[in-house]
């Protein structure tokens, strides 16, 4: 399985929803504390287990997250640590990039998510406690959702209801919002510690998973959110990112500061289905491909991006 070495520490990796072999990687210098950032667009060569870099974009500050547009196959958005978001178009020559710079947040933008059903809007989660809604054609945000009391680490659109999304925050709650409503519609005090990531189940629109600093992943049903459906323990340190599989109802993947990427099936008694400990530093980004079943990618602070098929060893060559 091929490996891609980035010059900076990796922060996030996302598969393109249009090209099966394309990924975007968000990286930041000096572990994201201070320094430049870079967005890589990489491609998996079909001839062999090699990864090529198609193009890379430099930014003034570290890039914490990246999201592909669902409407334009060559457009991606990068969340930069200085509070701005850069829109890149890989079909345009490099000198014409970035195409847009959207700066409204007062603090670092930590999470991005593009609407997979409506395909026209995306959300940004920032450490200034707010979530903003944007579209590519407008230079300013459409909505600001400010209710969290601490940094918002991640946002996720509901895969079935195009107006519903969830945000996970350091104030230990997950809020569910509806863009048609002025405020949040549900508040799930999920954990006793900060919640770093949340994701919706793609096949059951009422199930949401939250990953927290308390090393656990909890699955919640929004219809009965007082008690989690399932609690997945197994990570040794805080769980940084989770993603439900686009192809399997019960499968989700998580990456954690214990340098492992774990595969879970939350409907099974012994939920941990797979564990990959290929990273030598914090594993901070993981993604499952929407187009190819079983293809997954992860990146970490060890400046490596791995892409592998589920079931294979990511370090096998």
């Amino acid at each position: 399985m091929p490996v891609f070495k980035t010059p900076f520490n990796g922060y996030s990796v996302r598969f393109s929803p249009f090209y099966e072999s394309r990924l975007a990687v968000a990286t930041a210098q000096n572990f994201g504390i201070l320094g430049n950032g870079r967005v890589h667009v990489i491609d998996l060569a079909s001839s062999g287990p090699v990864i090529n870099e198609l193009i890379a974009f430099d930014t003034a500050d570290g890039v914490y997250d990246v999201a592909w547009s669902e409407s334009h196959d060559s457009v991606l958005v990068a969340a930069v640590a200085d509070g701005s978001m850069k829109v890149y178009d890989t079909a345009l020559p490099p000198q014409a990039n970035p195409v847009r710079s959207l700066k409204e947040h007062a603090r670092e933008v930590h999470g991005l998510d593009y609407n997979p059903t409506r395909r026209d809007s995306f959300l940004s989660a920032s450490w200034d406690d707010s979530v903003k809604l944007w579209t590519l054609d407008r230079p300013a945000s459409l909505r600001t959702f400010r209710e969290h009391a601490y940094c918002v680490y991640s946002v996720a659109w509901n895969p079935k209801h195009a107006d519903v999304f969830a945000s996970a925050s350091g104030d230990c709650t997950v809020r569910i919002w509806d863009v048609r409503e002025p405020g949040s519609t549900m508040i799930i005090p999920g954990h006793e510690h900060e919640i770093l990531s949340c994701d919706w189940n793609k096949y059951d629109e009422c199930l949401i998973a939250t990953a927290s600093v308390d090393k656990s992943i909890k699955i919640w049903d929004v219809r009965n959110y007082r008690v989690p459906v399932s609690v997945l323990n197994g990570h040794g340190y805080a769980v940084r990112k989770i993603k439900f599989s686009p192809h399997r109802r019960n499968l989700l993947v998580s990456c954690s500061y214990d340098m492992t990427v774990c595969l879970w099936d939350f409907m099974v008694e012994d939920a941990l289905v797979g564990r990959y400990d290929h990273h030598t530093e914090f594993a901070v980004g993981v993604d499952l491909s929407v187009l190819v079943d079983g293809l997954m990618a992860s990146t970490g602070w060890d400046e490596l991006v791995y892409v592998w098929q589920q079931g294979m060893d990511p370090r096998a060559a």
């Binding site: 000198q95 002025p182 941990l272």
Partner: protein, 698 residues
């Protein structure tokens, strides 16, 4: 921040709240969100919580919010605290309404009714800040404020009374100070002045001085008592107030204390004294600027656990080990140095109005949208045809017939997920089984069937160790670490797999296993084979010769032991020389002597040794016995009348049956008992004598 809909979060919430307040005040407590939602035109959404308001939670929240310390903290932290406790938005709003606090949702009207009390000065400073904000909500706000103001009258009465008391107490204290000091000074001066010419008028002056002093003292005493009374009253009222909230706050404080002590003890245990570790007491603040601002957040509210997430310390094994270079970088930045590898990058868009390029590909439907359910997804993956079930879903072409075009990342192995832990083999097996069956959720692990012909090549090779070229070739390949031939070998094997899939036709567990067996040969999945099939069958190397084991010289069931002492050897000889019946008596006799059940083994030994020993050296034994301390008891004769008694006695000594004892006695003179001590022998003799027989000790 441009284009935000509301100037602040509070008023953002207030507008719908103001509407809902009126509605909810009209109805009773049990209010659903649905009426409100339908009013706004939204159908009952699943993502809105439809629980009724819980009155106990609301009352707790009211108590919490009424506490003076809580009043001083920003509204957002109060809301966040209540949210973390599990209150819903409606409950929080209800609590805020019930508590008369100077939040923007409450009343500009009642604020204007405040008195001059000092204690309300802090409230007043907040009020002017927040009065401009409620103005947009003024019409409904004032309506509700009028209603609510009446309730708050009493509160403000009490508070203003306390304030007045305090003011009066302070005022009197000040006044008295101002009065007393000049009076004292005057008095002192008078005394000093009059002392000069006092001696003459001393007697006259004294009474007047004394009177004045007495008067002054009285005044002072009266003033002091007044002050004391005032302060007493103040204290009492304050104590009352304090007691009211003591319960609630004690609970919270206790919890905070517990957590703090826990974290302290944990930290002590761990002994982590990283100076920069402190910066990571909470999770994600890797940026120096971020951490400094958040410190200021922390210093705001120290006592109450109102802040979100800040005071929540992590459970045991808290901090993940940050990389060393990371710590170095953090320290460098905290010292103020900038890392050297940062460049100035201009990442602003060269043309902010640049048009985005036209999309070249139409967006694909997502797997969860395209299919009706997950069934078809799985079918399409593992079915023999390998085709996608729906025409729309063009992205899911996996095991197409044209293998050469599928890139490496699309070729999937069998659905056996690889795991590092060997403990999870079963989980992997179950997972693999599940996905190959019809996709119903299986909760119990169904053990997979064993493969019918485990490994034909291996079985053959074992039978014929010399002629197994294929197997050896495979093994050589497996053993080698060459990279050149590998990709092609992988592709060959995987092509074979896909062909098997296409020809399998029927989807069953056996075929999956056959495929898996083929799969094992590829280098990449060597580990898979070993891990997954550990429980089934691992063929041994057919080339290996059978081991020749060394056996010891003789069978020693008791294992190595020191050589027995002479005494033991002699005992063993004696015992081995016994006849079988006598050997049978060893056990009971010893039992009687030692009362130890373990000694029963000697009968076994006796039996065993009997087979080896044979019936020899009986004379030797008796000789030895006579030399040593053992004695025999011989029955010489007996009275015919006492025969029965003698028999009874003999039975008692020898544990023989009735018939055997009778025969023995009739054979007299006969040995009754052998190998007994002198005392016992004499004892036996006595008893036989008592019964009417004659016994002799030998």
């Amino acid at each position: 921040m441009a284009t935000t809909q509301s100037p602040s979060p509070n008023s953002n919430d207030d507008k719908p709240q103001a509407v809902s307040e009126v509605v909810q005040q009209a109805n009773q407590v049990q209010q659903d969100v649905r009426p409100e939602a339908t009013k706004q035109g939204v159908p009952a959404s699943v993502f809105v919580n439809s629980e009724p308001i819980r009155e106990d939670q609301v009352s707790n929240a009211v108590k919490f919010l009424s506490h003076p310390k809580v009043r001083g903290s920003p509204v957002i932290y109060r809301r966040s605290f209540l949210e973390k406790k599990g209150l819903t938005k409606e409950e929080i709003d209800e609590a805020f309404r019930r508590v008369p606090d100077p939040s923007p949702s409450s009343q500009p009207a009642s604020l204007s009714q405040d008195g001059q009390a000092n204690s309300l000065s802090s409230v007043q400073t907040q009020a002017p800040i927040q009065t401009p904000q409620p103005l947009p909500a003024a019409p409904t706000g004032i309506v509700s404020s009028g209603r609510v103001a009446r309730r708050q009258f009493q509160w403000y009465h009490a508070v203003s009374a306390v304030g007045l008391l305090a003011a009066s107490g302070c005022g009197t204290a000040l006044l008295i100070k101002k009065v007393i000091i000049p009076k004292l000074k005057l008095w002192v001066r008078k005394v000093v002045l009059e002392e000069d010419n006092v001696y003459a008028k001393k007697i006259d002056a004294k009474p007047s001085l004394a009177e004045e002093a007495a008067a002054a003292a009285k005044a002072a005493a009266a003033a002091a008592s007044d002050v004391a009374k005032a302060s007493q009253e103040m204290l009492n009222s304050k104590n009352e107030e304090r007691r009211r909230f003591e319960e609630f706050m004690n609970l919270m404080d206790a919890q905070v204390q517990e957590m703090k002590s826990m974290s302290n003890s944990i930290r002590k245990l761990e002994g982590q004294a990283n100076s920069s570790g402190r910066a990571f007491s909470d999770h994600d603040d890797h940026r120096a600027s971020a951490s400094s601002t958040k410190q200021s957040y922390a210093n705001g509210n120290v006592d109450l656990n109102v802040q979100p997430g800040r005071t929540s310390t992590l459970p045991a094994s808290a901090e993940p080990p940050h990389p060393k270079s990371f710590m170095e970088k953090m320290e460098m930045i905290q010292r103020g140095e900038k890392p050297s590898n940062i460049r100035e990058v201009n990442d602003m868009p060269p043309n902010p109005n640049q048009q985005l390029s036209n999309p070249r590909i139409t967006p694909r439907t997502k797997p969860w949208e395209a299919q009706n359910g997950p069934r078809q997804v799985l079918q399409s993956q593992t079915s023999a045809e390998g085709l996608n079930q729906n025409g729309v879903d063009s992205g899911l072409n996996y095991l197409v017939d044209d293998e050469s075009s599928t890139p490496w990342w699309q070729r999937k192995n069998v659905r056996i997920t690889e795991i590092e832990n060997e403990d999870e083999v079963k989980a992997a097996g179950s997972y693999g089984v599940k996905t190959n069956e019809q996709p119903s959720v299986q909760r119990t692990w169904v053990p997979p069937q064993p493969p019918p012909v485990a490994m034909p090549e291996a079985a053959e090779a074992i039978r014929r160790p010399k002629s197994a070229p294929k197997e050896t070739a495979m093994q050589e390949q497996l053993a080698d670490e060459q990279s050149a031939a590998r990709p092609s070998e992988v592709t060959d094997e995987l092509q074979r797999i896909t062909k098997m899939f296409s020809t399998a036709g029927k989807l069953n567990k056996v075929s999956s296993y056959q495929v898996a067996l083929k799969v094992f040969k590829t280098r990449d999945t060597f580990y898979l084979r070993v891990r997954t099939f550990q429980h089934d069958f691992v063929p041994r190397d057919p080339k290996a010769k059978p081991k020749k084991l060394k056996y010891p010289q003789f069978y020693d069931p008791y294992g190595p032991r020191p050589p027995p002492s002479d005494k033991i050897v002699e005992l063993a000889d004696c015992i081995s020389a016994l006849s079988p019946e006598e050997r049978g008596q060893i056990g009971p006799t010893l039992m009687e002597r030692l009362r130890h059940p373990k000694m029963q083994t000697i009968t076994v030994e006796g039996m065993e040794l009997g087979s080896q020993g044979g019936a020899g050296a009986g004379a030797a034994k008796t000789e030895e016995k006579k030399e040593k301390t053992t004695f025999d008891v011989k029955l010489e004769k007996f009275d015919a009348a006492a025969k029965i008694k003698v028999i009874k006695e003999v039975r008692a000594f020898t544990n023989l049956g009735l018939k055997e004892a009778k025969d023995l006695v009739e054979k007299a003179p006969v040995m009754l008992k052998q190998g007994v001590t002198k005392e016992e022998a004499s004892d036996i003799m006595e008893r036989i004598k008592a019964t009417g027989g004659v016994a002799v000790m030998e």
